[in-house]
């Protein structure tokens, strides 16, 4: 079981309190109506699924109920950082293994 730091509660809490919510930093386009099929495909279906650092969303559903973002290394399963929704993607070059 992972230990996850909630950036809103500012506490590390067990994974049981959280729910994974998919890849982070995929903004919903504001011009939905004009979106081409290709752009919609990119927005809705295509995910990066890397080996290494992944940016993902979590929700502290059995805690403060907030959505936040995390950078996790999919090889070691280690959290590199967590940060509030809306904050920019941190630059973690070279941190993953």
């Amino acid at each position: 079981m992972l230990l996850i730091h909630c950036p809103y509660c500012e506490e590390g809490r067990p994974e049981l309190e959280f729910r994974h919510a998919g890849e982070a930093h995929i903004a919903r386009p504001e011009n939905m109506a004009e979106l081409s099929d290709e752009d919609f495909e990119r927005f809705f279906f295509i995910r990066s699924n890397p080996k290494g650092i992944v940016y993902e969303r979590w929700r502290h559903i059995h805690g403060c109920a907030r959505f936040f973002n995390a950078a996790r290394d999919t090889v070691s399963d280690r959290f590199l950082t967590t940060y509030k929704a809306g904050e920019p993607k941190p630059d973690l070059d070279g941190e993953g293994k």
């Binding site: 919510a21 919903r28 939905m32 109506a33 809705f44 070691s76 280690r78 809306g86």
Partner: protein
């Protein structure tokens, strides 16, 4: 004589403390503190089981958790019958009842042993080859045979009456293993002020100090030091000492699973005492002090009862005071086994010979053996054994070749060296490094906050072990360098030497049975055969031969198997690979993992405030998610069909009262509430008047229906949203997700109110007459409160949100009252309803009535691939809206393509035939297979009100097929159906105002 193999001068058990137990129905005496194994050995019993495949007689191999052979059943009572208990771990208690396994009719005469004679039939890969054909033989011959032969022991056939506990714990330093290394680490960490948990799998700490009599620590014999330190640690507030506790799994971020065995050693545990406790420990630092496991020698017929590990014999002698024989031989490739001969000899046991395959072993132990007059056959090998149910002799010859000689003995102790117990380290994802010189896999770089110390890290010197463990414990606790503690520790014993793989007489040309894996009956020959048949990786060899796949997971055997495969492949051991170590280290009961989460506590049961009323009125309940919902209310003599038919009739003739409390409810509040609703639902909301309701459809971004429900606008900035019964949590999650992450600028609050409101639906022509006398402050006339409106007021003296709405097609109301008043208001409504001939109805009638009107149920008519257009709900999409979740998805090419499955009604040609839900629909039942499937039936009922069966179905291009004849193929023949509108009753919808 009782316990003839107990030696008065040896061991640590209280000799005046006898315990009686039975094995296979025969009564024995042991001593308090004995394991089942040591107590049986004290009585001269070695034969305790039959092997898995060949049914060969087997005895104890070890004295610990690594035991491959001595698996027994322990029967406490009719329900408590634990199979595959290791006799070397199970402590005896008065009345313990153990039975042998895998034998018929008896342990000493076992018919299955014929398998041994037919053994060519069972060679490596036999599962894959032998049972291939004829196909018909599978059911009657092969499968029953495999089932009978597979799996040792007998599972209990009753529910487990024991309870199991579960604890979460946090600590600074978790130490796994309470031998010299673990105790030193825990002591140093505790002295530095850390919160420490120390876990040891034995009843007492001490580890190898149980038998290593040559150890001195801090001026005391090792065992005495261990007990003194343990007592010291146990008394400290910052230390939790857990004995009989196995660290079985190492998970992410230093979470370690421990299982603590609490009652299996007790005569009569209290009924409320947990049998085991699962500990989920989160440690800042972990110190692994898990020791090493001795390996046996691989040579022909090395599995007879009486052949065991040298360290096991020492444990039985030095700790339990039991000798494993009267005339004991030793066969070794390392130094430590010599000490067994010395210990036994000094206790007066005759040593038949020490056979060491090394040409010239040196050291004080060798000199001492010679001084004691023991025959030392160095440069010799054991190439065979004699005896049926117990070893009686060994064959010995020089390694360099020469004459074979037979030596009589009644026990043979073997050792081919020590395998560091790196299981938990490997589970922590640390990489193992192969040390070619000592032929051992050792912990390499750790990837978690842990350190390995002592024998599990490859250290074979006691002084160094204690020093490195003290340092590890001190540093793990954050102690400063200048305060590093020191302890004098030394041992006269040597742990060097050893070999991997098959010994003399079990070489490549040998056809003898030289066992590598005792529990799965895998021999050196089997491993070679696997390589010859093309297996190249140890992972393939393992699966082909099943070596290391038994419940002991190859603790004593894996390195031998690997070495034999590597030799055959002529490749270095690390290139052939090491099989993955997986949790659990030793078997863990399901009970421990499940803990309290069983029976009533398996899953919460949700009941509405009106549940007891429904129960008292004879309701039959159905499970809907976690909810218990009244399904139908049978009256005397009614079956389900009759009850539902009556309920359906009554609702449309007068009225029915229905508990709709389980509907999900979400309060959407804030200045931007309407804007938010516009984005979350397909419908337009901005212009919905206060006091009005609307049926809303929620999509996922891909355009498919996600949920639906009636929404009431209570104020400009307040919506009362209802969801499907199971849908409330995910709908709230969906809304929160968009609100928090996509539309964070909207000023909206979302609150789950599902549990706060009890909901009483009153439906039918008399519904208004029923509620009118109870309602205060709300004008119920059609003009003042038309269909699809909501009012706040009072009912029976309590506040209500009263909805005028209908899921039946009749005039209807849904009364929301605070949940605590639900029962009282329900009873008041019921009393009024009875005056009008109303009935209480359940979910089945609700389903039938809504289907008569063609109203969908999300999850029944939809399956995550249905759009509003498919479901005939295009009218619910706001045409002028520029955005809502799912709008763009709806325009995807596949979602606008012709031929999509669309919701239609079906009428059977025979009005009495009720279709099966889920049944497939075809255009031509006689078409050649594969018959093209057009769709399937989603809902199907007998409609009492229509006088014929009705069904809803998803059919390809269904909206264009009105009036077409289609077929529903069933085993008894195809059923002819006609495609119709989805509305079967009151097509004009006049009755909502009727």
């Amino acid at each position: 004589m009782a316990q003839p193999f107990r030696i008065a001068t040896a061991g640590r058990l209280g000799k005046a403390d006898p315990v009686r137990f039975t094995f296979d129905g025969k009564s024995f005496e042991g001593l308090h503190g004995d394991t089942l194994a040591s107590a049986l050995l004290a009585n001269g019993v070695h034969l305790v089981g039959r092997s898995f495949k060949y049914h060969r007689p087997r005895g104890m191999v070890s004295a610990g958790a690594e035991e491959p052979n001595a698996l027994v059943g322990v029967h406490r009572d009719a329900a408590r019958r634990a199979p595959n208990v290791r006799a070397t771990v199970q402590e005896i208690h008065e009345g313990l009842n153990a039975v042998s396994q895998n034998r018929w009719p008896s342990l000493s005469f076992d018919v299955g042993a014929l398998n041994d004679l037919a053994s060519p039939f069972f060679s490596a890969g036999f599962y894959y080859k032998t049972f291939m054909w004829p196909k018909a033989a599978w059911e009657r011959v092969y499968e029953p045979f495999i089932r009978r032969a597979a799996g040792l022991g007998e599972a209990p056939d009753r529910p487990d009456p024991d309870c199991y506990a579960n604890r979460f714990a946090h600590c600074d330093v978790l130490v796994i293993g309470g031998g010299a290394a673990g105790l030193s680490a825990a002591l140093a960490a505790a002295n530095a002020g850390a919160r420490v948990i120390l876990a040891d799998e034995q009843a007492e700490t001490g580890g190898a100090l149980r038998y290593e009599t040559g150890a001195m620590i801090d001026g005391m014999p090792g065992w005495n030091w261990a007990q003194a330190v343990t007592a010291d640690l146990a008394a400290r507030d910052n230390v939790r000492l857990l004995t009989r506790t196995t660290g079985f799994g190492y998970y992410a971020q230093n979470m370690v699973g421990l299982v603590e065995r609490l009652t299996d050693h007790l005569v009569s545990p209290a009924t409320d005492q947990p049998r085991e406790r699962l500990w989920q420990v989160r440690a800042k630092r972990v110190v692994l002090a898990t020791g090493a496991i001795e390996r046996h020698m691989v040579f022909p017929d090395n599995d007879r009862p009486g052949i065991m590990l040298a360290s096991a014999a020492r444990t039985y002698l030095n700790h339990f005071g039991v000798t494993v024989g009267r005339n004991v031989a030793i066969y070794t490739a390392g130094d430590s086994a010599w000490q067994a001969a010395l210990d036994l000899k000094r206790s007066g046991v005759s040593i038949a010979a020490i056979v060491d395959c090394r040409p010239d072993p040196q050291g004080p132990h060798v000199e001492e053996a010679r001084r004691l007059g023991i025959e030392c056959l160095t440069g010799h090998a054991v190439t065979g054994t004699g005896g049926r149910l117990r070893v009686s002799s060994i064959k010995v010859r020089p390694v360099s070749g020469g004459a074979e000689r037979t030596i009589a003995c009644d026990a043979l102790l073997t050792s081919s060296g020590w395998t560091p117990a790196v299981h938990l380290f490997s589970q922590s994802r640390g990489k193992l490094a192969f040390d070619a010189e000592t032929q051992r896999f050792l912990p390499g770089n750790a990837v978690q906050e842990l350190v390995s110390v002592g024998a599990c890290a490859g250290n074979i010197d006691l002084g160094e072990t204690v020093a490195e463990a003290l340092k590890a414990g001190h540093e793990a606790a954050g102690g400063v360098a200048r305060k590093l503690p020191k302890l004098a520790a030394d041992s006269t014993e040597r742990w060097s030497g050893g070999m991997l793989g098959a010994g003399e007489g079990a070489g490549a040309e040998s056809t003898a049975k030289a066992f590598v894996d005792f529990q799965n009956d895998v021999t050196a020959k089997d491993i070679r055969q696997a390589v010859r048949e093309g297996m190249r990786s140890i992972e393939h060899v393992k699966r082909f031969t099943t070596t290391g796949m038994a419940t002991d997971q190859g603790k004593t055997s894996n390195m031998h198997g690997l070495a034999i495969a590597a030799e055959m492949l002529d490749r270095p051991i690390p290139e052939v690979g090491l099989t993955t170590f997986r949790a659990p280290y030793t078997p863990v009961t399901f009970g421990a993992l499940v803990g309290h989460g069983k029976g009533r506590l398996f899953e919460p049961v949700r009941r509405t405030p009106m549940h007891d009323w429904a129960e008292a009125h004879g309701a039959v309940f159905e499970d809907v998610g976690q909810w218990k919902r009244a399904w139908y209310f049978p009256q005397a003599g009614e079956d389900m069909h009759a009850a539902v038919a009556r309920e359906c009739r009554t609702v449309r003739q007068s009225a029915g009262i229905f508990d709709a409390t389980t509907l999900g409810k979400i309060e959407v509040v804030g200045p931007d509430a309407a804007r938010f609703m516009e984005l979350m639902y397909t419908n337009p909301w901005q212009k919905l008047g206060v006091g009005r309701c609307r049926y809303g459809v929620m999509l996922r971004e891909d355009g498919f229906i996600y949920d639906d429900g009636v929404v009431g606008r209570l104020a400009e900035d307040r919506f009362h949203v209802t969801t499907t019964t199971g849908g409330a949590p995910r709908v709230l999650n969906h809304m929160e997700d968009y609100l928090q992450t996509e539309f964070p600028d909207l000023k909206v609050y979302l609150t789950s109110t599902s549990e706060q409101w009890a909901v009483i639906a009153v439906q039918g022509p008399k519904s208004r007459d029923i509620i009118a006398p109870l309602v205060e402050g709300i004008d119920l006339s059609d003009d003042a409160m038309p269909h699809m409106s909501v009012r706040e007021g009072m009912i029976c003296g309590v506040p209500t949100r009263l909805f005028r709405m209908s899921f039946t097609g009749e005039r209807g109301f849904e009364i929301n009252v605070p949940a605590d008043y639900g029962r009282a208001v329900w009873e008041a409504v019921w009393a009024e309803g009875e005056k009008h001939g109303a009935c209480a109805y359940g979910t089945e009638t609700m389903h039938v009535l809504r289907a008569e009107k063609g109203f969908i149920i999300v999850g029944q008519e939809t399956d995550g691939t249905v759009t509003p257009h498919d479901a005939g709900l295009s009218w619910a999409i706001g045409k002028k809206k520029t955005d809502f979740v799912g709008m763009r998805g709806l325009a995807r090419p596949d979602l606008v393509a012709p031929g999509r499955k669309q919701l239609v009604g079906l009428r059977t040609r025979d009005p009495k035939t009720v279709l099966e839900e889920g049944a497939q629909i075809v255009a031509d039942p006689d078409a050649p297979v594969p018959v093209p499937m057009l769709g399937h039936v989603t809902s199907s009922y007998w409609s009492e009100n229509c006088g014929h069966s009705i069904a809803l179905a998803l059919v390809a291009g269904g909206h264009e097929r009105m009036g077409e004849t289609l077929y529903v193929p069933m085993p008894e023949g195809a059923i002819t159906v006609e495609v119709t509108s989805t509305v079967f009753f009151d097509e004009k919808g006049a009755r909502t105002n009727g």
